[in-house]
């Protein structure tokens, strides 16, 4: 057992001394209790945290609305959005978590929806591209994409819009170089990078100001996490 003092100081159940103890791969595991106490009761509790491979109800909070779906654990967030909720703005393109066409915001962070299982997202706030439009009112990133013709076939566009929105939320005064570095997680085949860059740069030059839609959603998120 660790003493209390050590735990308090390190904020964790161990310290550098532990790290320095085992000096090679061959070193036997040093038995030591971690901060979480092991007990048979805990073991059974952990079993309670297991969802079987069968479908079960999964509740997702998407664009401020709750949706309960019956899903197997292996269903990705992307498939749930597209197939079960008909939110098809996020596109299924690469199968390898590289192209960004399925970008959504999870708790405000740009995320590949194909790299998350739907069950993982219970309790999180998911924002899809559909949230950036309310009738004729649209987020200024969408406006900017249209203004700069940052699209051709349009299949990568919603993902790029979401990546751009998330990027500008966190980098409101981004430079050209920042934009080129930050948005490297998305692919466009038609070749619309010029327009996307111009759009992001223009918004950044205005301080990346959020439009009302985005402000509202960001506001909701802040309220939620507060």
């Amino acid at each position: 057992m660790r003493d209390r003092k050590d735990q308090n100081e390190s904020g964790s159940g161990f310290s550098r001394r532990d790290f320095l103890k085992g000096s090679s791969a061959a070193a036997a595991a040093t038995a030591m209790a971690t901060s979480a106490t092991e007990s048979p009761a805990q073991q059974s509790q952990s079993q309670g945290n297991v969802a079987s491979a069968e479908a079960r109800d999964v509740t997702l909070s998407i664009n401020g609305q709750q949706h309960t779906l019956s899903l197997e654990p292996r269903v990705t967030l992307l498939d749930a959005l597209r197939n079960d909720l008909n939110l098809t703005g996020a596109k299924d393109v690469c199968d390898t978590t590289t192209c960004g066409a399925c970008t959504v915001l999870i708790d405000g962070k740009a995320t590949y929806a194909c790299a998350r299982f739907a069950v993982e997202c219970e309790g999180a706030e998911i924002q899809t591209v559909e949230s950036l439009r309310n009738g004729s009112e649209v987020d200024e990133v969408i406006e900017g994409f249209v203004e700069h013709d940052a699209m051709q076939c349009g299949f990568c566009t919603p993902g790029f819009v979401m990546a751009t929105r998330a990027f500008l939320n966190e980098n409101p005064n981004a430079s050209l170089e920042d934009i080129q570095k930050g948005l490297g997680g998305n692919i466009c085949r038609c070749g619309t990078y010029h327009g996307i860059t111009q759009c992001a740069l223009q918004i950044a030059q205005k301080g990346g100001a959020c439009s009302w839609l985005n402000e509202r959603l960001v506001g909701d998120l802040v309220a939620k996490t507060a």
Partner: protein
């Protein structure tokens, strides 16, 4: 006084045409509201997954789908290539399963029992000797003009070089696929990701034993085609068969890996070139043998187009196809041109180097051997100014090196036809002043709908908001497939004609109603005028139409000056090469492009910029990697099939060359041209930077370093 002849109006009077107009479906696309084929989820839709061959060649010895059929949630299984079927390339479709959920369909595909008897395969397309030894070559012709040998021996300088360009795929971000639904036994509705809305109904009808008139093809949005989506495809037919068997709608989209393996690629091209010139830089002789593969068909890029753009008096050319166990090729933007442009422009640049000439001067010197010397000369001048050619060009490899980084400039020329495809449009002018246009065309991303709306609004002098454009259904009047830069001309011609005729009819109504001479009536800014006096508004005039809309059909193409064909274009690149890592970065890349009359300057520029970026892709990073061990396409994913990202394209300049002489030619297609000469321009810029030729595209760091090493030896 408006003369009643079909034609585009005076350039100075255009309100919309030639300006930058945002695409009318832009918000729909950017906000995710636009529904692509992959997004169609009608109630009860089943999801289809595919079993594909994992060998490059051989036979299917066993295919047992019973375990899949028996699974709960599986509604239909369709065998495409069953026992005894021959496999000629990896990824060949064997069976398709439709199930309640995609994950069940995947389980079912995994449950299918399959075995193969593999046979010998050949995938090595750049190795002519090996192909000959394997009996995989197919002669694709040879022809000669003039006296090549005499010209070679008389030449001041003779250059021999080896050049090449690897196979690439289309990599449509929306894979090929469809959503099929039968209503009754006969009527089939297909949402199809297609460049050929009007032309694919029959492809479904035959194999399914139904009438073409029973097949509705719908494609409101398509996520990329690039020449690979003209057919229903075996996957499309499989989807329809599954829908028929299951009695439910089925959606079948290819997965990424299968998309890359079987849904189309652009043939490779490799060449041994001998090129000769006189002291002034006149090219006096050309002798080339090129080879490559289109996959299992074993054809090669077209013999008749090399040397590209330049007609050389003494010329011999030969082509050899290689039969490879690779998926079949499809038209890829400007079929044949990018490869042949690269093979030609690089050899010319090397000849200039040997002559001690600036390659700009050599290209210029030989413009008399092209179809449009004046246009090229003017475009080269514009391009050179933008890229600052004079200041940046130096003899190959002689620029300064900063921390191992060397820079250089290079150029190449291109040409394309771009004649409007055949199309019909049905125009309806309603009594409330709104206008609708119907046509079985499609919007590949060029802005088809916007261009139609602009054309109509310009003609009537009304805002675009009064125009509603309907494309994307084979229920509408037939339109040609969108391929070969034919669509903008294809749709703008008929819509202009129909609009002009409709306008004249309305003018007649106005003239009769208000008692003026019909020939004196003009339409502008939403009003009709005669003799300088406003008579009535557009809306008032349209009320004269009556309860039934005024309908006019427009057709095309016609020889009335609305459209033309034949463009030039020049690309100039400024690159930096890190000689210690072989990494190339594009500093600035310019395309000066003519395309006759430009309708939407904004989307036209987008098209050019897009072509240039696709050019950067195949010049620097993308290629199909075939494994000689397994015959498999081992980088059939977006991690190892490398496409440029937003930081990879440098500063891009799309300069539209549109003097009045071009405007007066009418509309000419633009999709293909700007993708053609990128390979040559970028390769020449790299050669200018580092002083050695990186012979094969894409110029990966490996190839750059190998070229540098070879150059030192």
């Amino acid at each position: 006084m408006a003369e009643r002849t079909i034609g585009w109006g005076p350039r100075s009077e255009n309100r919309l045409i030639g300006s930058e107009v945002q695409r009318i479906d832009g918000v729909g696309k950017a906000s995710g509201a636009a529904k692509y084929t992959a997004d169609i989820n009608t109630p009860g839709t089943l999801y289809a997954k595919l079993l594909t061959a994992t060998i490059a060649a051989g036979k299917v010895t066993r295919l047992n789908v019973a375990p899949a059929e028996e699974m709960e949630g599986v509604h239909a299984v369709h065998v495409l290539n069953g026992e005894g079927a021959e496999i000629r390339y990896e990824g060949t479709l064997l069976a398709a399963v439709a199930a309640e959920r995609p994950e069940i369909a995947e389980d079912a595909v995994r449950a299918i029992e399959v075995s193969y008897e593999p046979s010998e395969f050949f995938v090595d397309d750049d190795n002519l000797e090996a192909a000959e030894a394997a009996g995989r070559t197919k002669p694709q012709g040879e022809n000669t003009q003039g006296d090549v040998e005499a010209a070679l021996s008389a030449a001041k300088v003779v250059h021999k070089g080896y050049y090449g360009i690897n196979t690439i795929t289309h990599m449509c971000l929306e894979p090929h696929g469809s959503h099929c639904e039968f209503t009754g036994d006969e009527d089939l509705t297909v949402h199809l990701s297609t460049q050929n809305v009007s032309g694919t109904g029959g492809q479904f009808a035959g194999p399914l034993g139904i009438d073409e008139s029973s097949v509705s093809i719908i494609c409101n949005y398509i996520g990329g085609g690039f020449g690979s989506k003209f057919q229903a495809g075996e996957w499309g037919l499989a989807c329809a068969q599954l829908a028929k068997k299951a009695g439910r709608p089925v959606r079948l989209m290819l997965d990424r890996s299968t998309e890359l393996k079987i849904a189309g690629n652009r043939p490779s091209g490799f060449a041994e070139v001998t090129i000769a010139g006189d002291a002034d830089g006149n090219i006096t002789a050309w002798d080339s043998h090129h080879w490559g593969t289109s996959g299992i068909n074993g054809s090669v890029v077209r013999l008749s187009l090399i040397p590209y753009v330049f007609e050389i008096e003494n010329r011999n050319r030969k082509a050899t196809g290689i039969v490879c166990n690779r998926g079949p090729n499809q038209a890829w933007r400007a079929p044949n041109h990018p490869q042949l442009s690269a093979l030609t422009a690089t050899a010319m640049d090397d000849l200039a180097d040997k002559l001690g000439m600036d390659s700009y001067d050599l290209f210029k010197k030989n413009l008399d051997k092209t179809e449009r010397p004046d246009v090229y000369a003017a475009e080269m001048e514009v391009g050179a100014k933008i890229i600052d050619w004079k200041a940046k060009w130096h003899p190959h490899g002689k620029g300064e090196s900063r921390g191992g980084v060397k820079s250089g400039v290079g150029m190449a020329l291109h040409t394309w036809g771009g004649r409007a495809h055949a199309a019909i449009c049905q125009l309806k002018v309603h009594s409330d002043g709104t206008v609708e246009s119907y046509g079985g065309s499609q919007d590949l991303g060029t802005g088809t709908k916007t261009i139609i709306a602009m054309t109509i609004a310009e003609t009537f002098g009304i805002p675009m908001s009064k125009v509603k454009v309907h494309v994307g259904s084979n229920a509408y009047p037939k339109s040609g497939p969108s391929g070969g830069s034919t669509t903008v001309g294809g749709v703008s011609g008929p819509n202009r004609r129909a609009s002009q005729e409709a306008l004249w009819k309305i003018m007649d109504l106005v003239a009769a109603k208000y008692g003026v001479d019909a020939d004196s009536v003009e339409a502008k800014d939403g009003y009709f005028r005669s003799g300088g006096k406003t008579i009535c508004s557009w809306t008032q005039a349209c009320r004269l139409i009556g309860p039934m809309p005024l309908e006019v059909q427009g057709t095309g193409p016609k020889d009335d000056g609305l459209t033309d064909q034949g463009v030039g274009g020049v690309q100039m690149a400024d690159v930096s090469v890190d000689t210690e890592t072989g990494i190339i970065r594009v500093n600035k890349f310019v395309c000066v492009q003519d395309c006759g009359l430009i309708i939407d300057l904004l989307t036209a520029k987008s098209q050019v910029l897009g072509g240039m970026i696709m050019g950067i892709a195949y010049a620097l990073s993308e290629e199909q990697v075939m494994d000689n061990n397994t015959g498999r396409f081992i980088n059939a994913d977006l991690e190892n099939y490398k496409l440029p990202r937003i930081g990879d394209v440098g500063e891009l300049v799309a300069e539209m060359y549109q003097p009045d002489s071009e405007y007066d030619r009418g509309v000419i297609g633009l999709g293909e041209p700007p993708v053609i000469s990128s390979g040559g321009a970028l390769s020449n810029a790299v050669a200018n930077a580092i002083g050695v030729r990186v012979p094969v595209l894409p110029m990966t760091p490996q190839r750059v370093l190998e070229a540098l090493k070879g150059g030192q030896a």
